[in-house]
Amino acid sequence: MLFPPDFLTRLEYLSIMSKRVFRGQLLAQRRTRQTGAGIEFADHREYSPGEDLRYLDWNIYARHGDLLIRRFQEEQDLHLWLLLDCSNSMNLADGRKFELARQLAAALAWIALADLDRISVLACAAGVVEQFPLTRGRERILPLMQFLERLTASRPQTSLLESVRQFLHRRPRPGLAVILSDLFDTAGFEAGLDQLRFSGFDLHVIQLHHPLDADPAILGDAELVDMETGTILQTTITEQMLIEYRRLFSQHQEAVRSYCARYNLGCTQSSTQVQFDSLVMAMMKQSATS
């Protein structure tokens, strides 16, 4: 079952924990750099005729005779964009990879909704295939979970770049973009992330892999069926080929980590053997200490 009966209870616990750990540093209550109608004082500027006299600093005018307007930091709610990989590769073996990705999406969405942020979920494969529209309020968690339950990982191919392009064509307001994917993109994952980064999004990459992705444990004659393209490779797998495979896989993981470190992006890599709440807690602790 994707969302077991105690799922919401565990989400509530995560929400409380997130407040305790981040104290408003991660998702919610982020302040924009724009000044405007706010409560917290930011600075002063010269008065221009026609401006609202309510913001004139009368104390300074009384002391120095200067007409200065008080500026306040404008508070804006955060926009959280969850880009969920729905390609076939997420459905390997028992489908645990896609299940964990959806659970993580639901958990992060709940934490954001609880902080009055806006969230949106985009199901991606070769492009954006489906979207849960931008929404806010805790009561929207149930429709979101229904949306996630409906999703299937049956799309033929992963193209992060094309998905990001289609996402950006919708002119989303910049915010935090969380990528939930295995990042098995034959064109490479960097171009897609670059596009998001250049568009002013904060990025957090959650890369999931099945244990069979890391170690296929195949020996002898076999037909390797690519789950995304359906390509069949008839081969005889030797121990040495397996060693080479493991090396390439580790290299790929390291490339993702290096990319995220280079651009100061959040990065979480995990096997599907962990529970989603443990993984969220680990993410929160990692963000709190970074």
Partner: protein
């Protein structure tokens, strides 16, 4: 090479399906992967297999075909081609005691059986062979057959014997097995430790020797005996022989029923034999065990003249003749009731027997109240009805239920006696003056142990259900029998026999002998069909019992040949529990090697073929072809497994 089962070669047809399956191969297993991203990178350097690349490793296919080929060839039972035509062969394997001696390469019998295996495996196709195990008897362990596995099994199953060797009987049996076969051959695998000079004259016989001269010291005789004149006195006789060109030293330990009785240090010159006797006094018997220990050979002044053996390496090569056992039966006290009007000589003879507790009556007891556990000796006065139990009748003067007196015979001349019977052993009446003897008419036919010239019984045995009766109808008062030495011997023999302790010859047997053992039973013999015999090694065998018609509670067990040296035990009463030496009812039989011929481990008979030159039947490969084929199959399987794993791909 030829094949004994050529039809098995049809199995080679399996090569076709193997090839077809190898080419077509069953559908490969499909393994879904998230992405072939990494596999593609691997295959950029190493292309994946294609349909035509299925023969990329033809070695694997060839290995499979070779495996099939070797299995098919082995199933065909191939044989090495030989120049010699099929012929008939009888293998005689000497299993006598000396074959248990150790050579540099192992036990002689093991060397012989190994040699026999090689000969059998190298037989030309179509040959027939038989196997005979020979000591002083011959046992055909496998009759004429061309089935090699049976012959090999028979050779492997041959057991050593402690009996002396004498292969003449086996050679006669081999000749009968061969019959008139012109190509027949007899091969005797032996250590040549026997004296049969006529053997070498047999043109069909080839003697293969597997022995070299070895030093040995052993017990060549071990017997115990009670003194017939003094049943309380006993002696153990032990003969020890040094069959080596060296001086032999050894410790002879003697145990009686497990208790150390005597230790004697022996030093024997080359080829010297010594005989020692150990006395013992007392009514109790037991099992005497003699053992040679701490055997050491040292150089003799003449040893340098004997080039065949080296003193430094001389050891006692045969161990089974280092120990011997003998049985000394108990001499229990015997209650005797003498009923006599008065004969001092008879009374004194009975009193002189140390095992006798004598009671004397002048008249039979009133109302025929005879004591149950007594041997009754009746002199002259005979009751109308003889008492039950064992009875000795001397000089009967009146009738009874067993006989009627027909008269008196004057001066009967003693003519014959049964010397083999325990009563009349060491008993001769030739010089005894017999003026008169009663002529008895028996109601049942007696067994005559001594008789006069005209057939008049002078000593006879009546077998009754109530007990045995020994009748001596001589007129003692007129004869000088009572003054002669033979009279106490006769009375002692008769009393021992009636008590059931009369057989002094059973102290020890030579291995390989058969024996008939009288057994006391607790139930009638008809209800006990057989007894349990345990060999010294612990092997149990059921042996039949022959009931004694005269005595319902006794029977005879026929055992043998007893080929194992040591103490054999018979449980007489049909119990399923194996007998042991502590059992009171178990009857022991002592069996020893006791043969100076077997103790001497130096070959005496000339061999026709030296052990170094293999017989013509043995192939160069030393093993049958199927062995090598199976070995090749195993190697090919290992290769195919290696190829299957493809670990060699770099």
């Amino acid at each position: 090479m030829t094949f004994l089962v050529p039809t098995a070669l049809a199995l080679a047809a399996f090569a076709l399906p193997i090839t077809v399956l190898y080419i077509l191969k069953l559908r490969m297993r499909q393994v879904p992967v998230s992405s072939d991203l990494f596999w593609q990178q691997i295959f950029q350097a190493r292309p994946p297999r294609s349909f035509w690349n299925r023969f990329r490793h033809p070695l694997s296919w060839l290995a499979q075909l070779l495996i099939l080929l070797t299995i098919v060839a082995a199933a065909g039972d191939p044989r090495w081609l030989s120049d010699s035509p099929p012929h008939s062969l009888v293998l005689i394997i000497d299993v006598s005691a000396s074959m248990q001696a150790t050579e540099a390469g192992g036990q002689r019998l093991t060397l012989a059986t190994n040699q026999a295996h090689r000969i059998i495996n190298g037989l030309p196709p179509g040959s027939q062979a038989a196997v005979i195990a020979a000591d002083h008897r011959a046992e055909v362990v496998c009759g004429m057959t061309d089935h090699i596995p049976d012959l090999l099994r028979a050779v492997s199953g041959i057991q050593p014997s402690a009996a002396p060797g004498s292969p003449e009987l086996a050679i006669r049996a081999a000749a009968e097995l061969l019959g008139q076969t012109p190509a027949g051959e007899i091969i005797l695998l032996t250590d040549r430790c026997f004296d049969s000079p006529g053997l070498t004259d047999n043109p069909r016989l080839t003697i293969l020797s597997i022995a070299t001269p070895r030093s040995n010291i052993g017990i060549t005789n071990c017997q115990s005996l009670r003194n017939p004149d003094d049943p309380l006195a006993a002696e153990l006789l032990i003969a020890v022989t040094n069959s080596s060109p060296h001086i032999a030293e050894a410790t002879l330990e003697l145990r009686i029923s497990g208790t150390l009785s005597s230790v004697l240090r022996l030093k024997l010159s080359p080829n010297e034999s010594t005989t020692r006797s150990f006395p013992r006094v007392g009514p109790s018997g037991g099992i005497w065990q003699a053992e040679l220990k701490n055997i050491r050979f040292s150089a003799d002044s003449d040893a340098s003249a004997l080039p065949q053996d080296d003193t430094a390496s001389a050891t006692d090569a045969l161990t089974i003749d280092n120990s011997a056992v003998a049985i000394l039966p108990d001499a229990p006290r015997q209650r005797v009731l003498l009923v006599s009007p008065g004969s001092l000589f008879v009374q004194k003879v009975l009193e002189a027997d140390p095992l006798t507790e004598l009671t004397v009556l002048q008249q039979p007891p009133p109302d025929n109240a005879w004591p149950q556990d007594h041997t009754v000796v009746l002199h002259e006065t005979i009751p109308r009805q003889l008492p039950g139990g064992p009875v000795i009748v001397l000089d009967p003067r009146n009738d009874c239920d067993a006989w009627n007196i027909r008269g008196t015979r004057e001066n009967p001349l003693p003519a014959q006696s049964v010397e083999t019977h325990p009563i009349t052993r060491n008993f001769r009446l030739d010089d005894v003056l017999i003026p008169a003897a009663s002529e008895l008419e028996f109601t049942q036919q007696p067994r005559i142990l001594a008789a006069a010239e005209d057939g008049l019984p002078l000593c006879c045995l009546l077998q009754r259900p109530q007990g045995q009766v020994v009748v001596i109808p001589l007129h003692l008062t007129q004869s000088d029998l009572a003054f002669r030495t033979v009279f106490p011997i006769l009375m002692s023999n008769t009393l021992r026999w009636l008590a059931g302790h009369s057989d002094p010859t059973a102290s020890a047997l030579q291995a390989g002998q058969q024996t008939a053992v009288p057994l006391p039973l607790t139930a009638p013999a008809t209800s006990i069909p057989n007894s349990l015999l345990r060999s010294p090694a612990g092997k149990l065998t059921r042996i039949p019992l022959v009931p004694d018609t005269a005595a319902p509670l006794s029977a005879t067990a026929l055992t043998g040949p007893l080929r194992e040296a040591g103490l054999w035990l018979i449980e007489p009463n049909g119990s399923n529990a194996p007998p042991n030496a502590d059992s009171t009812s178990a009857v022991p039989i002592a069996v020893n090697v006791a043969s100076s011929m077997e103790t001497d481990l130096r070959p005496r008979l000339s061999a026709r073929m030296s052990p170094e030159s293999p017989p013509k039947a043995v192939p160069a490969a030393g093993r049958p072809p199927w062995f090598w084929l199976c070995l090749a199959t195993v190697l090919l399987l290992a290769s195919e497994w290696f190829l299957y794993q493809r670990r060699w791909i770099t």
